[in-house]
């Protein structure tokens, strides 16, 4: 999450909304956000329905795996990072950049 916070300017300049998502409760996420200084909203998937819809629910552990999805303005997934790749926000930021320029060129 810290990596995304560090790159937030890059994302926002690309007309992009960033969300952090976990299965934690809203109060737990609020405390976490305060602790690490995150300014974008953290969403609470307390019922674990979203992690299941996105196919990243870890049955054994009871929570979601790390993953980043980039959804374009048409609601279509344009980029996916799963596991270790998703920790680094650079790839996601670059993908957003490509997306913005692609859309602008059309």
């Amino acid at each position: 999450m810290k990596a995304y916070q560090a790159d937030i300017a890059k994302f926002e300049s690309n007309d992009t909304q960033v969300f952090g998502i976990s299965v934690d409760s809203v109060p737990a996420n609020s405390e976490f956000a305060k602790q690490i200084g995150v300014t974008f909203p953290l969403l609470s998937d307390f019922k674990r329905t979203v992690v299941k819809d996105y196919g990243i629910f870890n049955e054994e552990q009871g929570f979601g795996n790390r993953a980043t999805f980039i959804v374009d303005k048409d609601g279509i997934i344009q980029h996916i990072d799963v596991g270790k790749d998703a920790i680094d926000a650079t790839r996601a930021a670059d993908a957003c950049n490509v997306l913005t320029h692609k859309k602008a060129a059309q």
């Binding site: 007309d15 809203v26 737990a28 909203p41 953290l42 996105y54 929570f63 959804v71 344009q78």
Partner: protein, 74 residues
């Protein structure tokens, strides 16, 4: 006899390579792929608002950064 031995060695090799491929493609993974429609959701956020993914349609790109648990690294 010799052919049987050769054949069994071949089978063992084949099984090993299948096993290693299976291991490589094991998790992490997702059932979604690029080009799929992002499943819609409504979730409560730390800023007190409730966000719906489809509300951003035609307005903004959305980055969904799923993290494992709060108070953990990364």
């Amino acid at each position: 006899m010799r052919i049987t031995r050769l054949l069994s060695a071949f089978v063992v090799c084949l099984l090993c390579s299948i096993a290693s491929i299976a291991q490589q493609t094991a998790p992490p993974k997702t059932s979604l792929k690029v080009g799929d429609v992002a499943p819609d959701f409504t979730m409560r956020a730390t800023d007190g608002k409730t966000y719906k993914l489809s509300d951003f349609k035609g307005k903004k790109n959305v980055v969904l950064a799923f993290y494992v648990l709060a108070f953990t690294g990364g």
